[in-house]
Symmetry: C2
Subunit: 506 residues, 2 copies
Amino acid sequence: MGSLIPGTLPHPLPVPRVRDLGIERPAVEPPASLAHLVATGPGDRAAHAMGKAYRDVVRALRGRPGRIPDLVARPTDEREVADLLDWAGERQVAVVPYGGGSSVSGGVEYRGDAHRAVLSLDLTAMGRVLEVDTAGRAARIQAGTLGPSLEDQLRPHGLTLRHFPQSFEFSTLGGWLATRAGGHYATGRTHIDDFVQSLRVVTPAGTSASWRLPASGAGPSPDRLFLGSEGALGVITEAWVRLQPRPSHKASASLAFTDFQAALDAVRALAQSDLSPANCRLLDAGEAALAGASHDGSAVLVLGFESADGPVDARLAQAVGLARSHGGRSGASGEAGGGATGGAGADAAVSAWRSAFLRMPYLRDGLARMGAVAETFETAATWDRIPGLIAAVRREVGEAALKGSGHPATVNCRLTHVYPDGAAPYFTVLAAGRPGDEVAFWDDLKAVASDVLHRHRATITHHHAVGRDHRPGYERQRPDPFALALRAAKDALDPRGILNPGVLIG
Amino acid sequence: MGSLIPGTLPHPLPVPRVRDLGIERPAVEPPASLAHLVATGPGDRAAHAMGKAYRDVVRALRGRPGRIPDLVARPTDEREVADLLDWAGERQVAVVPYGGGSSVSGGVEYRGDAHRAVLSLDLTAMGRVLEVDTAGRAARIQAGTLGPSLEDQLRPHGLTLRHFPQSFEFSTLGGWLATRAGGHYATGRTHIDDFVQSLRVVTPAGTSASWRLPASGAGPSPDRLFLGSEGALGVITEAWVRLQPRPSHKASASLAFTDFQAALDAVRALAQSDLSPANCRLLDAGEAALAGASHDGSAVLVLGFESADGPVDARLAQAVGLARSHGGRSGASGEAGGGATGGAGADAAVSAWRSAFLRMPYLRDGLARMGAVAETFETAATWDRIPGLIAAVRREVGEAALKGSGHPATVNCRLTHVYPDGAAPYFTVLAAGRPGDEVAFWDDLKAVASDVLHRHRATITHHHAVGRDHRPGYERQRPDPFALALRAAKDALDPRGILNPGVLIG
């Protein structure tokens, strides 16, 4: 892959060792009553210093991680979470909630020096499915449950949360809820927000427990205030979530488009139909080439259908017909009767894309070691904005990368989620780096990208969260009165300002 | 209908005249610059004093309306709304936002005496569809647009908001948004919340304008804080909302069930299927008899399907098959090709139910004039709670009505909305009144009902809003930390406490 990007290093950067980081002793001692929950070893602390963005990988490689937390606590129940918050509040210790640590927007690190110490609150010791209501298709699940474990615990009940963000293996239910994660599926039930029946959230002002309800019109939704609060308002400890039966029927197909605008029109028609594809991913020519899904400059539309109720061939056929009526050229397609997405019968482009999708995060770290910029960002906008937005991101980020590194860059786009009223474009940037100056260079590119998003009224994030990295874009987007309300809510729930300081709110 | 309810009056109560209400002069004069927007006539003021609940009708009939607003303002644009709020803030005048006035929970009246005067802010002079994005299926619509006018303005574009609460004719987009209205449809897109792309909200602290987005993960949703805020946080002035094509294919059918639990199981199976019926209303035996949909003690399930994409007969047939497998007995069914719901071909039970549904609010006022209690309330709960909840409401409200009036009462139930994880039961109470003491009697019954809901962890309201009447139940349901956050948000946005004082927050 190195040959894809000009200007990379002759040898990969070495992976630094923890002992080279010069980690100092913790600035505070944990209280005796909670000491059994708290780790103070340098390895544990270093592993909780940052998320998994490109800029985090580079900072790690360069031996310049963010502020290392003083303590890593692993509470095993809600009482311990509350006790840790009480202690932290008394000592003016910042608390950074930590699930799988997969943040790509600076969500799990501490910046600044307004606090006496930093506690990383690792929820993964709270990793159980506590109750399953099979008839009502719901489960009560602890926030620290990692994706694979969550699905393993639901499988015996024949049910699934069916929420598969790209970070699935390394992220938790609590992280998904706190960041309003987007799942893998292109339409329908895919956002974690829509799966929530109720939440329990420990705040310094008490524990919030909403009722388990299928719907309610009683005032503004309490759950929706905590969804997306990124640990700034409280620590989500558990949730009742809606489940689905495991799909028994799947089918997929791909179509190639010479004209990208025609492909956009096809996708819009599909999103506005009753068909509700599970997958409806449009890869532009560059993305399709990178994934090995096309080699002739075509854009590729990957379609997939799933159902637990019955065969989906008819829906797939209708969808393919609709896409063909917009100029799509069919590849092979087929029904996959088994359990795995894109199993036997799926066409080559579908398989190639899926494999590239799963491989990409690993590949990125390797590219970073070679000195290349390899990062993604995403957004969402209404359909009227989409063509201009995509063109402007490609042009302006590409120009900035060329100007900054002296080498041409690749800026690809795919649509990951589609809606009747818009879509979520996901951009991949592959560029030569500026050795030794990688973080500043990426921050420059990201600032250019954020500027384009702002001008096109495209959200600063569709599912990567705000964290600390997206704060400038978020502040331009967020209505001022809502900022006042959010700040007031924060002050009411976290009067000492210990909860994940710096995310969402300045 | 009088014979249905024992203990009614021999003659209907007369409808009082405005001049008998003894309305005093307004406590404040409007400022000269805004005087052209403000009505001070007793008729206008009396018409804005209350909503349309049974207790409102009775208070009107008894000549004891709530506090009459001093002024009725009808702004024509957002600037005028802001100017009115500024003026009201300076003078300590309470502002009660008013759309169609169809509140059934005390949402549009003023109680108490903490303010110098009361201004009813009638938004209906802001009643236009301002922009339509046909390709993106969305429109920018002013908050004061009444249901029929909204649909009339969209019809030339071949689009519909497809949001039909029972109050459709007498309620506005802004009211729907401020109260999180539920539409007519049983599954899928029916809650107004899900139609919102963006909102504009005038608050005393400035105007909140969210971006028009199909989805976003940037912090807690700003729109979701204002949805359901019932005028306590700001005045919604306009919204971009998602539209749908007008359905071209419809079909409906009904099934009778001897066993109510079997009917509940059938409805749950339908709600958990992929079929997504537009209508999936289960009427218990009493409700079915009252609607003329059954005469043999059966519960009746009314099913309807709609699509703009193609025929729905196959889905209807599947749904009927599923219901039959749970013991449902089919009536006639048929495809209605035309535009009207339940057109030619719909079966007799469907037509009877639809007619009763449309007639009921009018009938209720007549019953109230005869001294009878005729009121409804609704809730939602998870499936595990539904059978016990419905039985307890029937029993306990029935007993309280008998005890309070000396006559047996009718307490019927239907499910109006169904979800994979629960349902929304809607109760109708028909009872002898306590002449001259109607309001207190109803309040007693409602307190009993609210108690049952609380014990069964069923929401105090699924789509009737909190207003002032549901405050006690709401306060028991709302998580305490969320109450703190909401109060803080209110203080930040409305520091002088002029916005709809008494709804949601004490």
